[in-house]
Symmetry: C2
Subunit: 399 residues, 2 copies
Amino acid sequence: MTITGDQSLMREINRMALVRAIQRVPGLSRAELAKETGLTKSTVSLLVQDLVEEGWLREADVQTTGAIGRRPTPLFLDGDRLAMIGAEVSIEQISVLTVSLKGDVIDELVEPLPGTQPSVVIKRLAHLIASLVEKAHSDGRHLLGIGVGVPGAVLDKYGVVKLAPNFPWRDIAFQTELAQELTALGVPGIRIQVQNDYDVAALSEYEFGSSPLPDPLIYLGVGVGVGAGIIVRDRLFLGAEGFAGEVGHSILQLEGPVCSCGRKGCAETFIGQRAISTQIVGHAGEILPVETIRQLLEHNDAATILAARRAGHYLGVLIQNIWTYFNPGRIVLGGSMCELGAPFLDAARLCLDRYAENCGLQLPEIQLSRYGARSVAVGAAALIKHALLRPLDIRFRDQ
Amino acid sequence: MTITGDQSLMREINRMALVRAIQRVPGLSRAELAKETGLTKSTVSLLVQDLVEEGWLREADVQTTGAIGRRPTPLFLDGDRLAMIGAEVSIEQISVLTVSLKGDVIDELVEPLPGTQPSVVIKRLAHLIASLVEKAHSDGRHLLGIGVGVPGAVLDKYGVVKLAPNFPWRDIAFQTELAQELTALGVPGIRIQVQNDYDVAALSEYEFGSSPLPDPLIYLGVGVGVGAGIIVRDRLFLGAEGFAGEVGHSILQLEGPVCSCGRKGCAETFIGQRAISTQIVGHAGEILPVETIRQLLEHNDAATILAARRAGHYLGVLIQNIWTYFNPGRIVLGGSMCELGAPFLDAARLCLDRYAENCGLQLPEIQLSRYGARSVAVGAAALIKHALLRPLDIRFRDQ
């Protein structure tokens, strides 16, 4: 990075630094912001005025205390006027949400996947988005952009879905096609970003979480697919080709069961929804819906309890490995299988506790995802916020 | 990050951006540098003049071509006037090197470890460093700093060795004590940084490598310990507590052999020097020197060949897992066991090729380390260069 005279970029960097500072420490006054960021008080005042006018920040009412002198006005993120739209395209359904700057879900539309043809899916997705755009506008909200999470590898610069094996899709110009459909529906020129589902899910924890934010933060998603979204040094970590975090395809057992990817002994063959279904049914093939597995557990079905415990134990091993690879500050667990609850998660915890005890180290913080089944869609909205708050990433090559 | 009026910092950022640009593309002219960095030609000229005077850059002789007009002067990193000292403290020996900005090893001192008491080791290390400092000064070189790589977990901000299990050391104020010893020897006030051995080894590949540099770059060290140094987005990646990359303690087999860390089935129990020795000797205990194992291989000792192949196969599994976790642009293999050559490395390759074939993906680039047994000491020198070229990391909080 070099620092040159691009005034509009420097202004945007400073504006967004103020928003991030308020996000870290809600309630700072202008004077405290100046101290926090190193900007002069007059610069802060000018920029804050704009940010309040545009809907990024709001001023809280100042409490009259009876003390002499005016108390400084605390500033907060505004949860009312700006919003993002986040969408999840999964193999079962399309979910579209309107999400506030503070991470509140304002509106929501969910419907079953209308087929697996990309053009059919994108057309339907555009319709759902367009309804929420209209709703947002009629509510007087300004939309910052649209994020989409898909279960596959994405070239995020171009919004191309390189590979989504469960549909199966390959090299789909998702972002371009979605933009065209939206334009046709009278919603032109809005920022669109597409990214892997578990990657954006990690952002749902990070962008709407409270300080101090952990570094690294890992979101481990366990559903039909098993994978991780990783945040390192305040950014999504994607790897050389966007495949980083494919921990479901790390080997947990030499010459283990054949995985959907073709390898043998992948974590997914022990932990994923398919593996648990196979253990319950007694043979490979069918993937049981999470609701079915949950009901079997509630009725104390012996095979199901055993299957959940076995998968949970392997989940513990996978988390132990993630711990050694990344030394995360926090691991967040999400995905459909985490909805199975106790027998699955308890077995994982038991396994992990034993590893920690054996090596005498303290485990990282491990939590369930705060948005549950909405993690991917909320995270897709968070992707827009994440990008806008970091203008250098968009306009500058930082090397 | 905010951009404020700290002129001296802005100047340093721009200066080091010019050095990094020349490192990426050797031979750029001042005009090309201006285009590359976005700085004005006059700023570039002023800064380059200083950088040439100080020994960072040198101007190449301009070839007279007979064409009309003056050809622009190509600029290169200067390999003569500035240098760093890099040291490795291993369980066997202390190595200290003087390394040029371009990564050439200028001087070298190696001697056996004089015991495992930290104070004894640090005193001896200081003596060796002081001799090389004197030599460098008499050769007219200016030293930018001293880097030290140690086999353990380091709090790099304070240069404290938190845990080095093989000595065993715990909470050693390495940087402070080394600075005191050096001051006593008449070498005061020089920048000192301490870091994990495999982490700095990764920097030996990164700071002295040629463009384009891979992102992420992983250095996988296989010796008595097995671990990875990781570079992500142009920085060392250390994790929440500095333990990231401890891949030798990821589980390759449930309920496998007990590891030195207390866990069972860690990668180190299959791949490390201790594991190979155990396989050769037939029982646990002794760690055979790498030279002994190599001689046994040369004499076609059946048990040794089998042990090397078995360990190599597991190395392949570990690399496959690193591939799925990090999606690296390049994996560099180093450490004493990589000196075993064919039976070990061929088995790893065979294993990896099968994984790649099964899943239909292309493996990342895999290379042997360019500095071999000197990787850690050269990398420790690279750590100083890495830090100086990134002044924002040192003086600014980038969030």
